[in-house]
C-alpha cells in the first residue's frame, strides 16, 4: 500500500514538473507583439541658448538635445563665447563639481570646453585628466553578496577613465603647444589604458596622422601599446572598403592579435552568413 501511494505521488510530481516545463519553455508567457509602432520623429528643437558664465547648465541641457545632424548649431553658439575667459572658467567650475553623477552632462561639458579652443582650457583639462579615477566616479555601492547559479555578468566599466579619455581628446583638440605636449605625456604615462589609447588617437588626429607625429608617439608610449598607433577610425564619413582594409592590415601586421580558432559545437547547424554584395554600391537598400 505504502509503495503504491509513493509511486502515485512520484508520478504526480513528475507530471507537474513536465507540464510546468512545457508551459514555461514552449508557450508564450504573454502575448508578444513584434510590431513596433511607427515613430514620426521628435518635435522642434528649442531655440539656442547663449553661452555665458551664468548659463552653463542650461546651455549643456540645450546641447544635449541638439540632433547630431545639426551639430553646426552648437559650434556656432560656442564660437560666440569661445574667447571669453569667464566662460571657460565657468565651464571648468562645472566640470570640477565632483563626483560626476551624470556622465552625459560631464561629457558635454568637456566637449564644449574643447570646442572653445581657448588656451585657458589647458589647465583645467590637464588637472581633470590627472585626477585619481575615484575622485571622478561616484563611490560604488556596498556589495550585497555574490551572485550564484548560472548567471553571467557584464562587468561594470570604470567611468573615471571614460571621462578622462574624453578630456584628453579635448586637450589635444585645443592645438596649443602645451596641450599637445601634455597629450603625448598622457599617452605615455596615464595609469588607465583607456585614457592612454585615447591620447594616442587624439594626438595623431590633431597632426593629421603625419609620419613625424607617428614617430614621436612611437618613441613615447609603452612598448606593448605601440601596436595601437594609427588605428583606423570608424566614422560617419568613412569609406567602408578603406576602413576594412585598414583593420585587416592591422591584423596582418599583428597576427598574434587574431582570436583563437573556434570549434563548432557538436551537432550544431551552422548557417554561414552570406557576404553582403557590393555594399559600397548599395548605400540605401533599406533606408
Amino acid at each position: 500500500m505504502f509503495w503504491q501511494i509513493a509511486c502515485l505521488v512520484l508520478m504526480l510530481i513528475v507530471l507537474v514538473v513536465v507540464i510546468d516545463w512545457v508551459r514555461l519553455r514552449w508557450s508564450p508567457k504573454q502575448p508578444v507583439s513584434t510590431h513596433r509602432p511607427r515613430y514620426f520623429g521628435p518635435g522642434p528643437l528649442p531655440p539656442p541658448i547663449p553661452l555665458t558664465p551664468g548659463t552653463v547648465e542650461k546651455f549643456v541641457g540645450w546641447v544635449a538635445a541638439v540632433p547630431v545632424a545639426e551639430a553646426q548649431l552648437i559650434r556656432d553658439q560656442v564660437a560666440q563665447a569661445a574667447a571669453d575667459v569667464q566662460v571657460v572658467d565657468a565651464l571648468a567650475e562645472a566640470l570640477f563639481r565632483l563626483p560626476a553623477d551624470d556622465l552625459g552632462r560631464h561629457l558635454l561639458l568637456l566637449s564644449v570646453l574643447g570646442e572653445t579652443r581657448n588656451p585657458c582650457a589647458v589647465g583645467p583639462l590637464t588637472r581633470f585628466i590627472r585626477l585619481p579615477g575615484e575622485a571622478i566616479t561616484p563611490p560604488q555601492p556596498a556589495q550585497m553578496g555574490e551572485l550564484t547559479g548560472k548567471e553571467r555578468d557584464a562587468t561594470l566599466l570604470d567611468v573615471g577613465p571614460v571621462l578622462q579619455a574624453r578630456a584628453v581628446e579635448m586637450l589635444a583638440y585645443l592645438r596649443v603647444p602645451e596641450a599637445i605636449d601634455e597629450t603625448l605625456k598622457v599617452a605615455a604615462d596615464h595609469p588607465s589604458r583607456v585614457v592612454r589609447v585615447a591620447a594616442i588617437d587624439a594626438y595623431l588626429f590633431n597632426h593629421e596622422n603625419d609620419g613625424e607625429a607617428v614617430e614621436r608617439v612611437r618613441r613615447a608610449v609603452r612598448e606593448d601599446e605601440r601596436i595601437l598607433i594609427g588605428l583606423p577610425r570608424r566614422s560617419r564619413g568613412m569609406n567602408a572598403a578603406t576602413f576594412d582594409a585598414g583593420v585587416q592590415a592591422f591584423y596582418e601586421r599583428h597576427p598574434e592579435q587574431r582570436p583563437p580558432a573556434l570549434r563548432p559545437p557538436a551537432g550544431a547547424t551552422i548557417l554561414t552568413p552570406a557576404e553582403r554584395p557590393r555594399h559600397a554600391e548599395n548605400p540605401s537598400r533599406l533606408s
Partner: protein
C-alpha cells in the same frame, strides 16, 4: 531599492517620444518586462523616467528607432539588434524574460540559461538605474541589453558563455572576431562560421560594441548629441579595455561635435 532619478541623457531621450502608450505596451511585451519584479520599479508608472521601468523603455527606444540602417556602413541592421535584444523566441534565441533585481554589487546585469523547468531570463540590476551611477544612461544600458541577449544566443547555438579574463587587475573580457563591414548582410547577425579561413563570429562584448559604434556614428539624424557622445565614449572604453586581443579600430573622430 535603487536610487531613483534621471540623468540628462535619460530626460533627453524620453523627450523624443514623451509618454507614448502604444510604444511602452510594445516594449513591455516584446522585451518581456512582464515579471512581478517590475511592479515596484515603475511598471504602473511607465512614463516616470526616474524609475527603472521607464528607463528600460528609453533604452528599448534607442534599439528600436535610433539607427539609420545605412546599408553601406552599418555593422548590422536595426532589426538584427532589436530581434537579439528582444525576449521573443526567434532565430537568435529561445524565449526568455527580463527581471528587475535590487542587486547592487559588482554586476550590472546577468543572464541565466538552461534553467530546469523554468524559462530562461536576464536580470537587470540597480547599477543600470541608480542615480549617480555611470550606467544610468540609456545608451550604456542598450549595450548591456545586447550583451546579455548574446548569452542567450550562445546558449541556443551551444557555445560556452563564460568570459575569458584580461587586464590588470584581471576582469571579464571577450575576444573580438573582426569582420568586414559587408561580411554579414542585414538580417544575418544570428549566423556564424567557425572555419578559420572565413571566420564569422561574435562575442557578447563584440555585439555590444558594434551596436554602440553604429549608434555613435550611424544613427538617425535626429538622434540627440548626448546619445551619440555617450555611445562613442562607452564603445571606445570597452574596445580599449575589455577584449583579450587588441581591436584594430576606434569609434569616431576625436573632435568635440
Amino acid at each position: 531599492m535603487c536610487v531613483d532619478g534621471a540623468s540628462l541623457e535619460e530626460i533627453t531621450v524620453q523627450n523624443l517620444y514623451g509618454c507614448w502608450r502604444e510604444f511602452y505596451l510594445w516594449g513591455w511585451s516584446y522585451f518581456a518586462l512582464t515579471d512581478d519584479s517590475w511592479e515596484g520599479a515603475g511598471l504602473k508608472d511607465a512614463c516616470n523616467i526616474t524609475l527603472p521601468f521607464a528607463k528600460v523603455l528609453n533604452s528599448i527606444f534607442l534599439i528600436g528607432y535610433a539607427l539609420s540602417d545605412n546599408y553601406a556602413l552599418q555593422w548590422h541592421a536595426l532589426e538584427d539588434y532589436e530581434s537579439s535584444a528582444s525576449a521573443a523566441d526567434n532565430r537568435f534565441h529561445g524565449p526568455f524574460y527580463q527581471r528587475f533585481i535590487e542587486y547592487d554589487g559588482a554586476a550590472n546585469a546577468s543572464t541565466e540559461t538552461g534553467r530546469f523547468a523554468a524559462r530562461d531570463r536576464t536580470d537587470l540590476h540597480c547599477p543600470l538605474f541608480n542615480l549617480g551611477a555611470s550606467y544610468n544612461s540609456p545608451s550604456a544600458r542598450t549595450g548591456t541589453m545586447l550583451h546579455e541577449s548574446w548569452h542567450h544566443w550562445q546558449y541556443k547555438h551551444r557555445f560556452d558563455g563564460s568570459h575569458p579574463q584580461c587586464g590588470r587587475p584581471a576582469h571579464d573580457c571577450d575576444y573580438y572576431y573582426f569582420h568586414n563591414v559587408g561580411d554579414f548582410d542585414f538580417g544575418q547577425l544570428d549566423r556564424y562560421d567557425t572555419n578559420p579561413e572565413h571566420l564569422r563570429f561574435h562575442s557578447p562584448r563584440q555585439v555590444q560594441v558594434e551596436f554602440l559604434a553604429d549608434l555613435a556614428e550611424l544613427s538617425q539624424p535626429w538622434v540627440p548629441t548626448i546619445v551619440t557622445q555617450a555611445a562613442r565614449a562607452f564603445g571606445n572604453a570597452r574596445l580599449s579595455s575589455e577584449f583579450v586581443n587588441a581591436v584594430g579600430y576606434r569609434i569616431g573622430d576625436p573632435r568635440p561635435f
